[in-house]
Symmetry: C2
Subunit: 981 residues, 2 copies
């Protein structure tokens, strides 16, 4: 038999103190009463706080009360008394069955009235009236102000639970008040049989305080020693005190006074043990239950004590055991110098404080909730917009037969709030700069963006053209649509672009905000955290990231599902402000946007449901990236209802912004002479610095290698236009793109090999088609030498050639490096400049021009037998080979193919026509570089041979490596001699 039920046999009922509406609605309370021997309930502001603030069980009633225009405190009382009344009704059959001996529900007066007799009287009467149930107990603390109120209320016929009892003295006063009240009733000719009262004695709190006081008295090791030893009393005083109190209770039962009352049918005032959870983990978890079992007692247990007791509680009548020992404990306590009066007084003070704190917290939380509800009624039009966006998204994707409707549904409120309330933007002007920007990092939610633009009358393209050939409403956002600044769809990239846009706004003195909507799944991408770091380091306070935590990824649950604090902690650890909200609560969303204006960057972590609004999609796995069939669409539309959204977006811009007139760059003045030794990376850096002077829109980013790429020259001269991106190349590229799409000439530099880190970003930059975006990869090829293969850019030409609309340049000396850098700033789209670590001699005069798509014939004669096509470092090897071969009477043509893409096909084809073979030499893997390009472009019968890296390189001196891997002057010469047989 369950120990809890066995308690009843010994005259003890157990109560709980964690009443909530959920417990009532779910049938849990009734089940406990019917099956588990539960005999009573007390309310608890801490539990109510949790329940009201964190569940939605009360929301419907709150809604109604708000509609009735009730104040917050009235709402509080209505919520609580509803629960109490319902609980009373559940316990009523028991109460009736036990003839009013048990089956009570307690409700406390405000703890702020603990020292206010009159106030307590008034509130107790009012609550008694509101609840209007015979098995209600009003809870009043046993303070000196409480006792007269208790007597008066009992006299008036109101049942009282006297709480916060610690000392026997105070208990005696309480018992007397009860007897007195009953006597007065009899005197006044009133019945007494139905009057009930319990005296609540608190237990574990006594031990907590007394144990601490005892610890002050425990002698230091080896020092003097007190008798009795304080440690012997730890954890014993509360029980001892309660046992002695019970003896007093028994004395009262034997008093003449009580006997007389009992004869008139009065019920005894039972003892209730409260605060019975064990707080010190070193103690037994049922220590406040087992020793206090006996007739006419109640034990109010918290949930885990109930579980523990049900599991291993030992039941026998114990409350009258060891009375002498109890007396001894109290005596020894005094001997040690601990005055129990003081203890009781401190506990009473603390007890009241512990009631006030959750009570006030509850009122505050309720106030917030009420305010949110009141706000929500004001945001109804936006809610209708959100529903309309949902409807449109479902129609669009069903018509397209594909797409990601559920990923759109989760962010409908967020998108509605942004486009129809929060953002300053101009639906007539997609290219306006002085407006807020929206970046849809979770690009697969494109349909809701198109829907929002359509509803705001910013586009007039038929939404049902979604995903159809030649529609700009593509599957993921692309700049084919004029509203799209950067292509998204490869996740985790939006925030980096947003960084760039926020930087551009700052540079152009535009006080606009940038909103970036991310999915929770994409937060697994490290690039998000690179971007987060950059934003906080650069204090991009106008940047707002919104994470749509819809908990479901493509192939199953997202790693952290709805655990929004994970995201909040991460953003915080990267220096962001964070706000966690319900992402379907428009009032909360608007409030978060307001908060985000105070400081930033701010991440709003929005808990949402994927597929929100449609019952068979909401929170359901397996729906990612699937359109509904027409029948399901109809069902979904029916669920979403037919309210007409009617929010007009008025054009709102931020100040005025006049874009600067771009002047063509004059020719750079270059001071090199033929034969000067200078690394192309150095010349690139010098050119950037010079260009900075007359290209105010030139901005430069580097990934902690500015002293290697030589962007440091620019950084020193134009610190405001240089952005140190640290070792985070993905964000560097994304930020550079963001700057570029705002009209900056953006240049990002790193080691060529480390640009591979950002290939996906470079790829997406290609799809974003920025006006000007330059990359420079330094330290190309094996010629870097001792650092070894990890630092060698050997795939950069392959990588950059295969980028949408790219230009690939590879200078070989200082003059061409400077001129090509200048050219790059005037070239549309993505331009890659490949530079070299070692110094190379200047071979061009400063008046040389280097058009994109051109090449330079460095050596030629009518006798040219072979052509050596090359670029960069190996130009110098080819020139040296030329001399060697010349000595052997072999004339070669040398072409510096500095424009790798576009290639100078004409010159190359002519050479193919005029010479016997083309040898392409490059410091790059043999695949995908200049050799491939030349071989494919020169469609002629002349053979093309490629000298490039074909085996894993290693550390060594630069010249040793060129030799070892077959691209040195010697290797070239040898190859040609071999070819000639």
């Amino acid at each position: 038999m369950n120990p809890l039920l066995r308690l009843l046999k010994f005259g003890q009922g157990y109560w709980i103190d964690n009443l909530t509406r959920h417990m009532i609605i779910s049938g849990n309370l009734k089940r406990r009463v019917d099956k588990q021997g539960l005999r009573g309930v007390t309310s608890n502001p801490k539990i109510f706080h949790e329940a009201i603030a964190k569940s939605d069980d009360y929301d419907a009633q709150i809604e109604t009360l708000i509609a009735e225009d009730r104040s917050n405190i009235e709402i509080y009382e209505a919520l609580v008394t509803t629960d109490i009344r319902d609980a009373c009704d559940i316990l009523r059959p028991l109460y009736d069955e036990l003839k009013g001996q048990d089956g009570f529900v307690s409700l406390e007066v405000s703890p702020h009235l603990a020292h206010d007799t009159q106030g307590s009287l008034q509130e107790a009467r009012r609550l008694w009236q509101i609840v209007d149930r015979p098995n209600l107990l009003i809870k009043i603390p046993a303070t000196t102000a409480g006792i007269p109120a208790i007597e008066e209320l009992l006299f008036e016929g109101i049942n009282i639970n006297i709480t916060l009892l610690f000392s026997i003295e105070r208990y005696q006063a309480v018992a007397q008040a009860y007897l007195k009240a009953l006597e007065r009733r009899l005197e006044a000719g009133k019945p007494v049989a139905h009057i009930a009262s319990v005296a609540s004695f608190f237990l574990s709190r006594i031990d907590v305080l007394v144990d601490q006081l005892l610890s002050h008295r425990i002698p230091l090791p080896g020092r003097s020693h007190l008798e009795p030893h304080p440690e012997d009393l730890q954890g014993k005083v509360a029980i001892a005190n309660a046992k002695l109190a019970y003896q007093h209770f028994k004395q009262i039962l034997q008093s003449d006074c009580w006997q007389a009352l009992e004869a008139k049918g009065a019920q005894m005032q039972r003892m209730l043990w409260a605060s019975t959870n064990t707080k010190n983990p070193a103690y037994r978890d049922v220590m406040y239950i087992e020793p206090l079992i006996g007739p006419h007692t109640i034990n109010t247990m918290p949930e885990d004590t109930i579980e523990a007791f049900a599991d291993h509680g030992r039941v026998k009548e114990t409350v009258e055991e060891n009375i002498e020992e109890a007396q001894k404990i109290i005596t020894e306590l005094e001997k040690i110098g601990i005055d129990f009066h003081f203890v009781a007084s401190q506990l009473e003070n603390e007890g009241i404080q512990k009631f006030i704190e959750p009570y006030d917290a509850l009122l505050e939380a309720l106030g917030t909730k009420c305010q949110q509800r009141r706000n929500r009624q004001q945001v109804k039009p936006l809610q209708e917009v959100a529903q309309q966006l949902r409807r449109l998204v479902i129609q669009m994707t069903t018509d397209a037969g594909s797409g990601h409707p559920t990923s759109c549904l989760s962010c409908a409120e967020i998108v509605a709030a942004l486009f129809f309330h929060e953002m300053h933007w101009d639906p007539r002007a997609p290219k306006a700069r002085n407006v807020d920007t929206f970046i849809l990092s979770k690009g697969h939610a494109a349909p809701i963006l198109w829907a929002a633009l359509w509803e705001a009358k910013a586009i007039d393209e038929d939404p049902l053209s979604l995903r159809k050939l030649d529609s700009t409403l593509e599957g993921h956002p692309t700049p084919n649509n004029p509203w799209i600044k950067v292509a998204t769809g490869s996740l985790g990239q939006g925030l980096a672009a947003a960084n760039g846009i926020a930087l551009a706004n700052r540079l152009d003195n535009i006080h606009a905000r940038v909103y970036c909507l991310l999915g929770d799944g994409e937060c697994s991408e490290g690039s998000v955290w690179e971007a987060a770091q950059f934003a906080s380091l650069n204090k991009l306070s106008d940047l707002v990231a919104i994470v749509d935590v819809n908990a479901l990824a493509q192939s199953g649950p997202a790693p952290y599902q709805h655990d929004t604090p994970v995201f909040a902690h991460r953003f915080q650890s990267f220096g962001w402000e964070t706000i966690e909200i319900d992402g379907h609560d428009l009032a909360a969303i608007l409030n978060a946007f307001e908060q985000a204006k105070k400081t930033g960057p701010t991440a709003i972590i929005a808990k949402t449901e994927k597929g929100k609004g449609v019952s068979f999609l909401e929170g359901k796995d397996g729906w990612h990236g699937k359109a509904l069939d027409p029948a399901s669409m109809e069902k979904a539309l029916a669920e979403l209802g037919e309210n007409q959204a009617n929010v007009i977006v008025e054009p709102r811009r931020i100040g005025t912004y006049i874009p600067p007139q771009r002047k063509p760059a004059p020719a750079l003045s270059i001071g090199y002479s033929i034969g000067d030794e200078i690394a192309t990376r150095d010349a690139f850096g010098k050119a950037l610095k010079k260009l900075g002077d007359f290209l105010p829109e030139l901005v430069v980013l580097d990934g902690d290698v500015k002293n290697s790429t030589r962007t440091e020259y620019f950084s020193e001269e134009y610190p405001n236009r240089f952005f140190e991106s640290y070792i985070a190349e993905q964000n560097m590229v994304g930020t550079a793109l963001g700057l570029a799409v705002c009209g900056k000439i953006s240049c990002a530099a790193s080691f060529a090999c480390f640009l591979t880190r950002a290939y996906d970003f470079i790829r997406m930059a290609g799809h974003s088609r920025p006006p000007h975006l330059i990359f420079c990869g330094s330290h190309a090829g094996v010629s870097i030498g001792e650092d070894g293969p990890s630092q060698m850019g050997l795939e950069d030409l392959a990588m950059f050639r295969a980028v949408s609309g790219s230009t690939v340049l590879y200078p070989c000396d200082g003059v061409s490096a400077e001129r090509l850098t200048a050219q790059a700033t005037q070239t549309q789209g993505i331009v890659y400049i490949r530079t070299t670590r070692p110094k190379t001699p200047v071979i061009y005069t400063t008046d040389e021009k280097f058009p994109i798509g051109g090449s330079k014939i460095l050596r030629t004669s009518k006798e040219d037998k072979f052509t050596l096509v090359t670029a960069g470092i190996t130009v110098h090897e080819a020139l040296a080979a030329y001399d060697r071969l010349k000595q052997k009477g072999i004339s070669t043509r040398i072409i510096d193919s500095y424009s790798v893409k576009p290639l100078d096909v004409e010159t190359l084809s002519k050479a193919a026509h005029e010479t016997q073979a083309l040898f392409v030499i490059e410091d790059h893997w043999i695949e995908g570089g200049l050799g491939d390009a030349v071989a494919a472009a020169v469609n002629s019968p002349t053979p093309v041979y490629r000298l490039a890296i074909t085996e894993e390189p290693r550390s060594g001196k630069s010249e040793e490596l060129l030799e070892r891997y077959g691209i040195s002057q010697k290797a070239i010469t040898q190859k040609i001699l071999e070819f000639m047989g």
Copy 2:
């Protein structure tokens, strides 16, 4: 005149309570005494705690005391009494000048003795003896146990500061004890003139508690009202109480008893106001100073109260003003029902607790510090190893003329601790699996790794061969050296590989640990956080990351410099345990390694100095990646000293491990028939699942697209060998590499386009030369259709061709997809398999073989005019074009070039020889793919034309896009017809 100095005029001296050694050493205390009117000092365990735990002012003395083998408590007393004695000496001239009227220093007995009369007596006597200064006051609390001790000690001639006074009643007892002690001295014929005592009355704490109690009594708005109003008393009680106490003091002065004592030269027991900092910010900041100024008083002020008072304190004699009001306040307090006895009792309890807590914290912190120091003495041999590694690193890099010595110097202790103490490893067996693993993520610190291996006798290659051609001691770690599992040097990659190694250990039941050393700079790489997330999600508790926070990056300070909590918070937010340590404190390092064993993954955040150990390098910017010249080297070596390191690394393995015998995979049974429609991605997935059955070493990773790549079939069948990597492709690739280098056949899959995200990891995987590492990129090309360009893999062939030692496969139907997947598992190195989204018909019979480097001639005849070379989806377009052309009487040869790298050059060359032109058709950018490869490989006079993607693609139907971008059957046919004119 400074208000502080003016106080003296009115008989009040001010004391401070924040004595520290720093204050003594720096001359601050003396300056205050000499110039600022300071009259006394009390000690404070909270301040001592801060000073001893967080400064190094005490470290030298601690070192000495440890050497003398003193216990922690002895060390504590020695430290504190040293400060107290020194402070006494500083105040002594003042004490002498004032004839013992002021100039005192207080020292408290242990707060654990607050209720122990005998203990207090003994300790007070001992401290008095140790300090041995006449201007010392021993501080004893005014508890009931304290008062007899106070009297006795005063009688013995020991000066006493009576502390923790709250009530007038207790003050009276204290005053009586003083008088009694003096009388007893006189009776005993002892002098009294030099006996000093102060009675310390606490102020602001009273208001804190009373204000709270008053707040319990403030009526609710609109409810009943108490008279007097509790709010009117808030913030007033402490001052009122003190003023009344002062009146009692004055009464004593007028008593006969005192007059008699004064006549014998006794000094009065002055009143000291303590706890005078204002705690409620709503109150005036000098409220506990201004109203209590008067003769024979002291005010002990905290630092900010001193500043506030110096700034705006108003000085006049006030202590006897408003006495009536003070009385009224105390009376009203009683009226309101607040019993001041209880208040005083609670404050006394709390006050003792507030003394005990910092006192215990101080002893604990001191204990930790002492333990660290004791440990440090034990780790001396390791310290010598660290120094030896430093010496070697400097010699190696200077000899090489390049390298990163300063980045090595910062982690010398960490590396020494790992290789010479912590790790279980076997210097004889670089390939052992059942040992701990070390991954040097900050690969540029390679020299210290080589140095450690050399010192441990694990390599016999001359350390001075560093960076020289053919040495395995390369500039960054590469697997040319047998100890290197994965090449590092591209930062932020080590942790992902460590994840893979930890997973492999788990799979193979090897209980070894994986240590990964990172730099602080590389923590800017998002990939570190991808790896951190993966590690915690997969509960890799044997993984330990050590971050060498040396604060300096390549081009300047690292973003967070020495702000180690930033790193700790980040790792915590990614689910890691963290430990912050001084990275040069070997005892702390070893301790952290021990702690890390409890749970994990654990990140040890080590604060270090770049260039540690060499004065001109340590913490100096501008030294990254620079070797010393020979002269500087000599200087550095001289600084590093010449101790001989002598720690032998004994082989230590973990259990036994027998590698499984790998069996060759039997041929897969494939159930497709010609014409069946199946996507190659699906066939790939099915093949993986079948292979899983007889390849126990096959492991599969996916990036949240397993339902698209179809690795889900494998994941369902072999959940233990499938690792969901979420949307974090860099970590997926790095983890796959880690698994691969442990002997797994590792396969990582995602959309082809998203593998670009991990190009740097793929590049480094190439340089790491794993036995078997397979990548599958699905959704290649424009044929994916409506999702648009962001989802189209158009550069993957270019990317994977340009990877060291890679194989690139591109099947066109179910049979070839399955066979090539099986082939991939048997192929050395990195294999890329490209798959397609749409279904394609099966064209091969199941007995067809697909050797690597082969191709299939699908159509041929003697009349072949042209050759169509293609692979994947466009094979089917070519076959359809074949039919169309055939109808027009044009015979073509169709080659399925499924092995893109290596190419079947022979077959292609033959075709070039036998037909008039080659048309290469591919669903890829025109650059870097099959077209380039074929054009470059087929070195013949036959022209090669490329049909591939040349313009930015968009959303649309698959077949529409093939058509639009010129690679459909129709486009092919047309191209050939055009060619023919």
